[in-house]
């Protein structure tokens, strides 16, 4: 079945079994690395992406439901040369050990910060409830998300010089 997918602002025509979870299409057909397979059960959050502004577990979401939706992955947040605020914050706070869970964390945080740039500690923890980290990087992940909120506010402040 042919499906039209909008990922990070680009449209892709994919021929795929409609039951295929979105995760495998992102990773294998579109060759996007950030969303990870962790459990295939919607329990760990490693596969989290953003669909129409909400965090979605791509390992249990059939691609057939994605037609006409706006999908964002970590690749849509910036590049290694020009990282977005979340990416810059995770680098600045050195908020990774193995890093496998981090893209999912960033997508959950992205949804939170878009709605609330100054979340409380409790709100951040609740937003990350689904996301598991096994290396124990929790304190740095929390710090990076707080820092990303600051960077986002600075970027949207009216006095800030906009990149031309």
């Amino acid at each position: 079945m042919a499906i039209s997918l909008n990922v990070n602002g680009e449209t892709h025509e994919i021929d795929v079994d409609p039951a295929t979870p979105l995760l495998y299409v992102l990773r294998n057909d579109l060759e996007l690395n950030a969303a990870k397979f962790g459990c295939g059960l919607g329990q760990c959050g490693a596969c989290t992406v953003v669909v129409d502004g909400e965090a979605v577990l791509s390992c249990v979401t059939p691609v057939s439901l994605m037609e006409g939706r706006e999908i964002t992955t970590v690749e849509g947040l910036g590049t290694i040369e020009e990282p977005g605020p979340l990416q810059a914050a995770f680098m600045e706070m050195q908020a990774a050990q193995c890093g496998y869970c981090i893209p999912g964390m960033m997508m959950s945080a992205h949804v939170l910060l878009r709605k609330n740039a100054e979340p409380s500690d409790r709100e951040i923890r609740d937003a990350l409830m689904t996301n598991l980290c096994r290396c124990g990087t929790h304190m740095r992940i929390l710090a990076a998300i707080r820092r990303a909120g600051e960077l986002m506010q600075q970027a949207s402040a009216p006095t800030e010089r906009r990149a031309g």
Partner: protein, 755 residues
């Protein structure tokens, strides 16, 4: 500033691996690979009697003795450093660059680093035991210093000036008159193709520029922007996807399976059956998963109820017929004075990497290449070659990072799965990734343990004697030996599981840290070896140190109570090593121990250990909060002090130690493998819960005590033992009740406090 060395850029392209260009060009030195003969855990043939004993060289240089095994410089001055160790998420790629850059007088970003690859790097066995800095860091630092001095000597010879007048700076040797000559120009012929010397002219601690700095990790930018970072991200031309149908239980044998329907499923290329090894290969990943699920339905297995009673592991462990080893003996085993006696128990626990194990293998004209997140590329190469009946020279194992590694997980098995499937489906690369239930049920577990203590304290407030016994499997079943690979075990021509060899070693295994570092006159420490392994077990971060330090440090608090002494003061009373005392004092001071216990439903606890009794020193003080109605506990604040020798990257030490504290907290509050008499039943994150964000602490502070000029001691496992004990001690301080059974589940907590 973020320093990203070139090879990191090269491997972070989104669409697959870019071959590193280093060593491909016309490098002056690339004459031959100076890889030492295979040195692993296996015994080596004895050298001829007449051969003189070679001198002991620092770190892993002793095994791979030529400088150009470790460092090569090409005609353009490109520097490549080779390590047999691997990145596990611990930051070793960054720290090793710092060490090399320091002694070579270059910037870390100018170092290309090649990690474990049987085709290119020295054999450093396994990346395990918190030994990468001791072994590889020490080797690379010494090799780099010796290379620098060789370059200075060569420049002095060419210019005919005294070498003392020259210095190394920015990839050049500089003379007093300002003349310079680049490293690339100096390195010709076989200049570095020489054996390393036992002594090196290392830079003195006050001259260090790069070591001791918290440089940003080189791998993080790629990992947070969607770069190719893991073997899971490897996409090769023509690659197929495979899944293995693992047996439903450890004893299960495949009786029959009708594969005809599965073979007709969309995208299926092949169904492979070899004894109880069952796998499917498909064009697409989800096609492989769908076919695997169908095969699971089609397969008929015979199973035996061979597992012990999960609710009485003590009986299983005590019933062992294994040998008893004496770990330590001093004075008399008699214990006098006020006596504390207890039994502690630890369940089976999993590594539980967030990304299930994965590997890619390609059989191409009889040559097999395997990309794996194994901890030991050389032992894996040997085991895979044995499994497939291939010559070792036909098998190359290349390390690529996986999801976080905390010991012997499914990495080697996934590599064997991919290799076996690739040998059945040659010509196209085969990618295997385990499913979540494969990882939870089939990775080797950290073994269950039982410990018994009887210790006393005299009227003088000092420990009189210490009688400690532990029951444990060996915590190691790594390959060497194909029989340690699941695929080889399950084949029709099955490889037998190699019998582990019980022995008492300096680093310890099940008995790691079983002998307290504290000074007192009488002690006896015994290990009742448990050879029976109804559940597969191997190395999980810290091995026996987790249960042993938990037992020892719980006991220290009880003895302090019997002595009527503050627990920190009681520990200091029995510690003579000044570095041990320093971490205890520092953790207590930074925590504010002297200001007394917290109020309300919070308790505080303290614990200390020197990992393996010869590696890093770590003390931790923490606060535990208790919700009495639900039995829910949470570590709210932890403060640790660690001395891991000369600190190369202090933030890396902090990051790993914070992680160790939080991971050990998760083990301690939540984690146990569950099983019935036949099958493992904890097969996902809901049946095997781990710590989630709402249970994470408010703060975890780590204070690094630098020891300039001292040997590297390693960091990764130091927190695993003290953390559970500090939690137990905090619970005891708050409630007056001691918890003896790990994990401290809500049910156990409620039972303990009578709710």
């Amino acid at each position: 500033m973020t320093i990203i060395p070139k090879d990191e850029f090269n491997t972070q392209g989104r669409n697959g691996i870019t071959r590193r260009r280093v060593l491909v060009g016309t490098g002056a030195l690339i004459v031959s690979f100076a890889i030492a003969p295979h040195v692993s855990a296996q015994p080596q043939p004895a050298p001829p009697a007449a051969a003189p004993e070679p001198p002991q060289l620092p770190g892993s240089l002793n095994d791979a003795r030529r400088l150009d095994s470790w460092i090569r410089i090409d005609a353009e001055g490109e520097i490549t450093v080779f390590t047999g160790k691997v990145e596990l998420g611990q930051g070793i790629k960054t720290a090793l660059r710092q060490v090399a850059a320091e002694e070579l007088e270059v910037e870390p970003g100018e170092i290309n680093l090649v990690t474990a690859d049987t085709g290119r790097t020295p054999d450093e066995g396994f990346t395990a035991g918190s030994q990468s800095m001791q072994n590889s860091g020490t080797a690379i630092r010494n090799a780099a210093a010796q290379v620098r001095e060789i370059l200075i000597t060569e420049a002095a010879r060419r210019w005919n000036v005294p070498r003392e007048t020259l210095r190394a700076e920015a990839k050049s040797i500089v003379a007093q008159d300002g003349r310079t000559i680049g490293y690339g120009e100096l390195v010709t012929d076989q200049l570095l193709a020489v054996e390393a010397q036992p002594e090196s002219l290392l830079k003195s601690p006050d001259k260090l520029r790069v070591m001791g700095q918290s440089l940003p990790r080189v791998d993080i930018p790629g990992k947070v922007t969607g770069g190719v970072a893991y073997v899971q991200d490897l996409r090769l031309e023509g690659m197929l996807h495979a899944r293995v149908v693992r047996p439903p239980s450890p004893s299960a044998q495949l009786q029959e399976v009708d594969t005809a329907a599965v073979e007709q499923m969309p995208g299926v290329v092949s169904v492979i059956r070899d004894g109880s090894f069952l796998a499917v290969v498909a064009e697409g990943e989800f096609q492989a998963i769908s076919a695997m699920r169908a095969l699971q339905q089609a397969a008929r297995w015979t199973e035996q109820p061979v597992l012990p009673d999960q609710n009485n592991l003590q009986a299983f462990l005590e019933a062992t017929k294994g040998d008893i080893g004496t770990v330590a003996e001093e004075g008399s085993p008699e214990v006098t004075g006020k006596i504390f006696e207890a039994t502690f128990r630890r369940p089976y626990q999993i590594h539980g990497s967030i990304g299930p194990s994965c590997a890619v293998a390609h059989m191409d004209n009889g040559q097999l290449t395997v990309w794996s997140h194994t901890q030991g590329v050389y032992p894996d190469q040997e085991a895979i070659a044995e499994m497939l009946g291939m010559d070792i020279a036909q098998v190359r194992v290349i390390h690529m990072e996986g999801s976080g590694c905390y010991g012997h997980n499914g990495a080697d098995d996934a590599a064997a799965d991919a290799a076996l499937i690739a040998s059945a489906v040659p010509g196209r690369p085969i990618r295997v990734q385990w499913m979540r239930e494969d990882e939870h049920a089939w990775e080797p577990f950290g073994p269950a343990m039982l410990t018994k203590i009887r210790a006393g304290v005299g009227d003088d407030g000092r420990i009189t004697g210490w009688n400690y016994e532990l029951w444990s499997n060996l915590h190691s079943s790594r390959p060497g030996g194909a029989g340690n690979l699941l695929a080889a075990r399950h084949r029709a021509q099955a490889f037998a599981v190699p019998a582990p060899r019980f022995n008492i070693s300096q680093s310890g295994n099940g008995d790691r840290n079983a002998n307290p570092l504290y000074v007192f006159p009488n002690r006896r420490v015994l290990w009742h070896y448990v050879p029976e392994t109804p559940l597969r077990v191997s190395a999980l971060r810290a091995l026996g140190a987790y249960a042993n330090v938990f037992s020892i440090e719980s006991t220290m608090d009880e003895l302090a109570l019997l002595a009527g002494t503050d627990p920190v003061e009681f520990r200091l009373r029995h510690l003579e090593d000044p570095r041990a005392r320093a971490v205890v004092e520092r953790a207590a001071e930074e925590f504010g121990w002297s200001s007394g216990a917290p109020k309300g439903d919070r308790g505080r606890g303290f614990a200390f250990a020197r990992y393996k009794n010869h590696a890093a020193y770590l003390a931790v003080a923490l606060e535990l909060e208790l919700e009495r109605e639900t039995g829910r506990t949470r570590v709210s604040r932890a403060v640790a002090a660690i001395d891991s020798g000369e600190a190369v990257n202090p933030d890396g030490i902090r990051n790993q130690t914070q992680g160790g504290i939080i991971q050990a907290t998760s083990w301690t509050l939540f984690e146990q493998v569950t099983f019935d008499n036949t099958r493992v039943t904890s097969t996902d994150w809901s049946s095997y819960p781990i710590l989630r964000f709402p249970s994470a602490p408010d703060s975890v502070e780590v204070h690094v005590i630098d020891s300039p000029g001292q040997p590297f001691l390693g960091t990764g496992e130091a927190a695993q033992g003290p953390t559970p004990a500090a939690i137990g001690n905090a619970f005891r301080q708050l409630t007056g009740v001691r918890l003896y059974d790990l994990p401290f589940t809500r049910e156990r907590v409620k039972q303990a406090i009578g709710v």
